[in-house]
Symmetry: C2
């Protein structure tokens, strides 16, 4: 299968300086994936030249005259910037010229534009943001990470079904386990929406394992963890802050004296291995799940290594036919016809 | 000022084996604090003997014939176990025989019994759980950590006022900064309750610094962080799980080969210092805030070191007159009379 991924080269804190080299690096190890680099043509081509590369049939440049700023209002971006790189990558997915798109841009704008251009899948009220997180033994997927607040029980059920479908596809798991994030393992605990969501999930035919608490995420108790976007976003951001704090503590302790600095030098390979395992960049690339197309959001501060992971995620979801599986799961006639 | 703290010796995973030696160790460095050890007399006295200690006027033993189990229903514990150690420590605080109590028991039962026996402070609808968490530069206090779900804006406002009062007292800060946990720094983001709570906090006279995101907690952006108990509990538990994962990664990396084990030996003091800074035991002791008495909850799995920190916290809150300040803050006539 030939895969094409459209890349918003202007998004994120670094724009083409990061997105273009990441695209080049990605294509080196993924010769079967065509890329469309979207954004200000001059800026993209300058960056290609700087890396001794040039555009071609498998690495096209698609000009977009506007850029959505990181702090711009999503509704204004949607209304006023019809030739922004975010808008164009979504258009390319809708028209079928690309199978997926990737952006490190403004999350709110990416979601608003994607919803408007691509629409949601039949049966889905609200798209959710899903991403993998590391666990002691591997990884787990959590959704929603911030697209929706005040989620009702039926939204949480949809998240569970979408999450299980995605994880089943990309992790090649038959019946991924689904846990509901809650504050106690007993069914009596929790808020109203979560209590009712538990009943729905129990009757859903999913491999629902019940409530899990916050620490269960990193213990890898479930393949998929379902939660309200407010809760998921706070959990994710707090985890990021905690990892930063841990790294800063380690640095401080090893910099304390000449002796500890020397010791730090000796254990450098071990510290390096440790940091790598905890490196949030490895898990970069969150999917906006529930749209009629694959849209992957990279962290705004992503570097080249990290943005490449987001492109990989997009290609991987296309390879594993995530969209088609979602359509089948939600009983779409379109998917039946395509089969 | 003479201080008396009542200790539920039966709570937690280890009961008197942990609580009694912790009490003995605490009293060694806090000669001004009297302790009442509450629980099964024989078990407590056996533990005292095992440590070459005995009861006396400053270290009394108060028999309680019943024990609330860790997984017991709070309402059943409240109704049926009127001579439980949890009930007795609360009674001692209500009668004035103790200024504060500490328990590592069942959180739900401790909260239910404390609310029933002590009642809430005037002006407080719901007591909240508050605890200190480490930050890059010191510590921050977060509430609610799980006593309340589905909090309305006025509850979040009360949490802010209570939190600021407690932190002002025990950290000797004049106008502690208060942040509202949210999913974006812009006021437009967030769920309904949080948006309306921001308005209330802005007009409250508190040193309200606005919204903070999850990573702001560990960056120490605010002295007090206010949130719904569901969100706070998930955040706290996820952080605990993440710290466990980090420690397990470090152990695994250093145990990988003879060489890395040797390296681990060399950097042992540095690793030890690092672990100490990240040690959740140092922050053990969460206060049930908003009751007519000081009630401190220890982690159920607390060891001796950890449980002693919870006793310290209780004594510290008495020394700094947290209860009196709360009554003044909420305009209680009782506090005026007592002044």
């Amino acid at each position: 299968m030939d895969i094409t991924v459209a890349i918003d080269c202007m998004g994120g804190d670094h724009g083409p300086h990061v997105t273009v080299p990441a695209a080049l690096s990605f294509q080196k190890s993924n010769a079967d994936v065509d890329l469309v680099l979207v954004g200000l043509k001059d800026a993209i081509e300058a960056e290609l030249r700087a890396h001794g590369a040039k555009a071609g049939p498998r690495l096209r440049v698609h000009h977009a005259s506007e850029v959505v700023l990181m702090d711009e209002s999503p509704s204004l971006a949607l209304r006023n910037k019809k030739d922004s790189s975010i808008r164009i990558v979504a258009n390319l997915v809708r028209s079928g010229e690309a199978h997926a798109c990737v952006s490190a841009g403004n999350t709110g704008a990416l979601m608003a534009v994607s919803r408007f251009v691509l629409k949601t899948l039949p049966g889905i009220d609200r798209p959710a943001i899903i991403s993998a997180l590391p666990t002691i033994h591997g990884s787990t997927y959590v959704l929603d990470l911030g697209a929706n607040v005040d989620c009702g029980p039926e939204h949480l059920l949809q998240f569970g079904i979408m999450g299980a479908t995605l994880v089943g596809a990309v992790e090649h798991k038959d019946r991924p386990s689904v846990g509901l994030l809650n504050i106690g393992e007993e069914a009596m605990k929790g808020n109203d929406a979560v209590k009712r969501a538990a009943d729905l999930l129990r009757d859903s035919g999913l491999n629902f394992i019940g409530n899990i608490e916050g620490d269960g995420i990193y213990r890898g108790e479930a393949d998929v963890v379902v939660c309200d976007g407010f809760v998921g976003n706070v959990m994710l951001k707090a985890s990021e802050g905690l990892v930063q704090m841990v790294r800063s503590f380690i640095r401080q302790e090893f910099m304390r004296s000449t002796l500890t600095r020397l010791a730090g030098g000796i254990v450098m390979p071990v510290l390096h291995a440790f940091r790598k395992r905890l490196d949030p960049r490895r898990f970069n690339g969150a999917t906006l799940l529930g749209l009629r197309g694959i849209v992957v959001k990279s962290h705004g501060s992503a570097d080249v290594f990290s943005f490449e992971r987001a492109i990989e995620r997009a290609a991987d979801e296309v390879r594993n036919e995530v969209l088609h599986r979602l359509m089948l799961r939600f009983g779409s006639a379109e998917a039946e016809e395509a089969t």
